[in-house]
């Protein structure tokens, strides 16, 4: 493969990384889920080419790999945004109005849960309890945690990222 463009170089770098991951787990029992986790770490999501490589490498039918990927909410076959917004919908957060916060994000970004904005900047997900109930309702954006929110705070938070 020629690697004269930045994109190609990156792609082949990732492919190498994936091969390494598969090799590392080749002899581990029940390797599929750890491999998927690490592959998603590298690619950000799990597109066909990646799943096909894993299927071949671990000798598991692609349909089964896909079946596993589509079973667990942490795995995605769609790319995620640069800023991944997760609105916690655990009971503690729900009772404290996380629903309204989620709605506010949806309207402001004009996307639905599980989607990504057209400019790939934000993706929105509703997640299960992240165990920060003391701060309910909670939203995370990448590694940043925002607690005790109201729907009104959403604009300010997003503005912060829009400028980035």
């Amino acid at each position: 493969m020629t690697t004269n463009c930045a994109g190609c170089a990156e792609a082949s770098e990732k492919a190498k990384e994936l091969k390494k991951i598969i090799a590392k787990y080749k002899d581990t029992r029940g390797a599929l889920i750890p491999v998927l986790h690490e592959a998603q770490e590298v690619y950000g999501y799990l597109p066909l080419e990646v799943q096909r490589e894993i299927s071949l490498g671990l000798d598991i039918p692609l349909a089964e790999v896909y079946g596993v990927v589509s079973f667990y909410t942490q795995f995605s076959i769609n790319p995620k945004g640069k800023y991944q917004i997760n609105v916690c919908m655990g009971t503690a957060c729900y009772v404290k109005g996380s629903n309204e916060i989620l709605d506010k994000f949806k309207t402001r970004l004009s996307i639905d849960v599980g989607d990504c904005t057209d400019d790939q900047k934000f993706s929105l997900d509703a997640c299960r309890c992240i165990g920060a109930c003391g701060l309910a309702p909670v939203v995370t954006i990448n590694d940043e945690v925002y607690g005790k929110l109201t729907a009104d705070d959403v604009d300010d938070i997003l503005d912060k990222y829009e400028d980035k």
């Binding site: 503690a92 009772v95 165990g131 109930c133």
Partner: protein, 628 residues
């Protein structure tokens, strides 16, 4: 490398000196240990609210003031008072500061560390004392608690195995390897009366025994750390605050049943817990507490961490095992039980985090000690995650048999904003709610089951009069439908149909017949779903139907939501007597459904109204009424 028990004890003595300052002890203080320890909660809620920045600020302050030799900062596990985070405690005087911001640190150093004066505005609890003394037991939140599973949380640095060893860590393992035959370990656990803390409350000793009696050279022990109940985070706190207690217990479990390999299945949503476990396992391996010939006693045991990937159903034992096997986390019918054919069809014991966290102390202090705590059939303590409409949101550990009232009012500080207690939900999506009439029920496994709920993992969500119980049932079914694995029709389609009916009811389109259908569906899902989670999925509906049937009737017959939650049943109306016809509401209405001008009275067109509530918010004269 610790080669034998004598070396373990020697290490313990050395390590204890370094942390004596944090304990109510004076023996063995070591000069390297420092005179003042600042404990900062570095996990869960506190980390989310910025405690790590506080810790960094403290480090800076130490450097700035050249206090490196005397003052140490330790990132510990959870103190419990999560809503008040970030939390820190200064030892030896045990003064706890809450809601500490990095900006507060300089003041704390100037006044407290160097000036010997308490910064009263940051104190936990009633915030009125100025004398430096051990106030912790006097803070009501802590006074009624008894910490076993959370024993080390908030005291030790979870990333430092020496601190765990200092507080008798791995002594239980040493005792077991030195003095007990495997079946004697099981007898001890049986005698203690410990029951599983994750779900149904199965006696732990019997569970171990049923795997121990199966002849097989390949067996497994698994720690279920896939804490899935929304609103429960006790396992997270234990793993982040005291990971070695779980590891030690698993080694003991392996010895007792004859397993040499263990897995810890953790939710991927808990990255800190995963990291801490990794560190802890590595340290234990380096010390030879995991691996071959542990403490020179010829016993081998290895531990591996496996990550979940976002599926509530993986909290079910057989689903968890299929997930470890790398498949869709779907449960399988039992029998055969996991004790006979579990992971990779081999005998397997599965215990939850909190259950394991009790084991080392049971071994060390004896079954009789543990047995003396709790109620007749539920021994020991239980950790609850308090959440919802309650003042002290956080983690509490109380003896079994503590009443709901004590937990909610004495420890939890009651309902905020002058609200009234309506119900508490325990057991998450598999549990049910306890109404005010049962506030004085001593809480244990059997009393909760009798009331139509269950202990579950210990989530305890408090509801006040602003919570609609039908909406709450719908919320839980929302969850169940989303998390159903889809393998069996009762859960896959049945919970979906129940959810659809609940949506209809909350939208004001329900009928009395719908209530009957809910009951038929609930009964049959309970009877015939494939796994325990499916069978318990209807519980939130059954229990709200049992205790709050009048609310369902109000929705179905009167088309009213008494709590004012169900949007489609909310009606906004303009009180023309109060209305000054200013027109602010009309301007702000996104659907232009408000009519009226200076000469005609203002009114809301109910067909066009989307119930956003903006008009009510904007009206300067409070002339707009909800549900009038």
């Amino acid at each position: 490398m610790i080669k034998n028990i004598e070396e373990l004890n020697a290490l313990k003595d050395r390590a204890l000196g370094n942390i004596t300052v944090r304990l109510d002890r004076t023996e063995n203080p070591s000069p390297e240990g420092g005179k003042i320890h600042i404990l900062v909660c570095g996990v869960a809620g506190c980390a989310s609210s910025g405690s790590l920045k506080v810790a960094a600020a403290i480090e800076d302050e130490i450097k700035k003031n050249n206090l490196g030799a005397d003052v140490k900062v330790i990132k510990t596990g959870c103190f419990g008072l999560c809503a008040e985070g970030p939390i820190m405690m200064i030892c030896p005087e045990h003064v706890m500061y809450t809601k500490v911001a990095p900006e507060d640190v300089a003041e704390i150093f100037e006044n407290h560390i160097m000036g010997g004066k308490i910064v009263t505005r940051l104190l936990a609890g009633e915030k009125e004392y100025e004398e430096i003394e051990d106030r912790l037991p006097q803070i009501p939140f802590f006074a009624m608690q008894k910490r076993i599973a959370l024993n080390n949380c908030g005291i030790i640095d979870p990333e430092n195995i020496d601190e765990y060893i200092a507080l008798d860590g791995y002594q239980a393992l040493a005792k077991v390897l030195n003095e007990y035959e495997p079946d004697e370990v099981i007898d001890e656990i049986k005698k203690s009366g410990l029951r599983g803390r994750g779900g149904g409350g199965f006696p732990t000793g019997r569970k171990w025994e049923s795997s121990a009696v199966v002849q097989d050279h390949e067996k497994y022990v698994i720690c279920n750390a896939d804490e899935g109940d929304p609103g429960a985070f006790m396992d997270r706190s234990i793993l982040e605050g005291d990971p070695h207690s779980v590891i030690e217990a698993m080694i003991i479990n392996g010895y007792a049943v004859g397993a040499r390999q263990g897995y810890i299945y953790v939710r991927a949503e808990y990255p800190v817990a995963v990291k801490r476990l990794g560190v802890a396992i590595r340290q234990a391996e380096e010390y030879g507490l995991l691996g071959n010939n542990i403490l020179g006693k010829g016993f081998n045991f290895n531990l591996e961490v496996r990550l979940g990937a976002g599926a509530f159903v993986c909290g079910e034992g057989s689903a968890l095992m299929t997930s470890i096997e790398g498949k869709r986390g779907e449960p399988r019918p039992k029998p055969p039980r996991s004790a006979e054919k579990g992971l990779w069809k081999k005998p397997t014991v599965l215990n939850n985090v909190e259950t394991y966290a009790n084991i080392p102390q049971i071994i060390r202090k004896g079954a009789d000690w543990f047995n003396s705590i709790g109620t007749e059939k539920s021994k020991g303590t239980k950790v609850f995650a308090l959440g919802g409409k309650i003042n002290n949101i956080g983690l509490v550990e109380v003896p079994m048999g503590t009443t709901l009232r004590q937990i909610v009012y004495d420890i939890g500080g009651g309902i905020p904003d002058g609200g009234t207690f309506k119900a508490a939900q325990t057991g998450g999506p598999s549990g049910g709610c306890l109404p005010a009439e049962h506030l004085d029920t001593p809480i244990d496994y059997d009393s909760l089951t009798k009331l139509g709920s269950m202990m579950g993992s210990g989530g305890l969500i408090v509801m006040d009069e602003h919570t609609c119980m039908v909406d709450l049932a719908r919320f839980f079914l929302d969850f169940t439908v989303d998390e159903s694995c889809g393998k069996c029709p009762p859960c896959r389609i049945g919970t979906k149909r129940m959810h659809e009916i609940l949506v209809r009811i909350t939208e004001g389109k329900g009928t009395l017949e719908d209530l009957d259908k809910l009951e038929v569906l609930a009964r049959n899902i309970k009877a015939s779903a494939l796994c325990g989670l499916g069978q318990s999925a209807p519980n939130p509906v059954l229990s709200t139907l049992k205790y709050f049937r009048d609310e369902y009737i109000a929705h179905v017959v009167d088309k009213k939501c008494p709590a004012g939650v169900c949007v489609s049943m909310i009606k906004y109306k303009i009180d023309t007597d109060v209305c000054k016809r200013c027109g602010i509401c009309k301007k702000g209405c996104p659907t232009q459904c408000i009519s009226g001008d200076k000469n005609t009275p203002f009114a809301i067109d109910q067909d066009k109204c989307v119930k956003c509530g903006l008009c009510m918010e904007k009206c300067p004269f409070k002339a707009i009424l909800k549900n009038a």
